[in-house]
Symmetry: C2
Subunit: 123 residues, 2 copies
């Protein structure tokens, strides 16, 4: 699926740096490589992954390859989040309505919202 490739492409910090750079305008491979602490070869491999996802497109003129982002593909990934959020809100709506219609069936609701929250984040 397309989202597999897109999210995988964006999961790498070097590739996100490249996309962030390209969001500010087209760039050559060397320009993309400049802030990255790795070989040019590695950058080209990252570029291949970005191109395979459709997020980036490039064309070579003379000896320089100019890369640019594909905003539509970026939007298509963004849309997945919008759909999730819509889903979440829908289910919360349903829950709200249910609670309205059954006012007496949950007397022990929220006995204590945050009972000192025993630091679960440092697992």
């Amino acid at each position: 699926m397309a989202l597999d490739l897109i999210f995988h492409a964006l999961a790498d910090p070097a590739r996100r740096t490249m996309v962030e750079r390209l969001s500010r305008g087209p760039a050559s491979i060397r320009e993309l490589a400049a802030p990255l602490d790795m070989s040019l070869s590695a950058v080209i491999q990252h570029l291949h992954i970005l191109e395979a996802s459709g997020l980036v497109h490039s064309e070579k003129v003379g000896r320089v390859r100019t890369c640019h982002i594909e905003p539509q593909v970026l939007s298509s990934a963004e849309q997945w989040f919008a759909e999730r959020k819509a889903s979440i809100e829908h289910s919360l709506d349903l829950l709200g309505k249910y609670l309205e219609e059954h006012p007496d069936e949950h007397p022990d609701e929220h006995p204590d919202k945050h009972p000192e929250e025993p630091d679960e984040r440092n697992r």
Copy 2:
């Protein structure tokens, strides 16, 4: 970085299926596993990755662990796209202004927008 873990978590179709399910409401591990063609063990491993990213949280009551999404984390990932799009629009604005101020310096502009576009997508 947090985005590394979040995008990596979302790059897998099984994990996205799990998140999609959780967007419709909390679920046990078995419920998450139901549509997936893999062992329960594998699903738990995917859950670990989702939890490590912060996208999903879970708690065990009796012998069932109930999982739910963390909408804020979903939003934090979504925001990265919003920032990219803002960046892109900003640079297009600058380009537009530049072209307005220098009307004669690009006479060969768009000689042919799509010269039959020799199928570059089936590389």
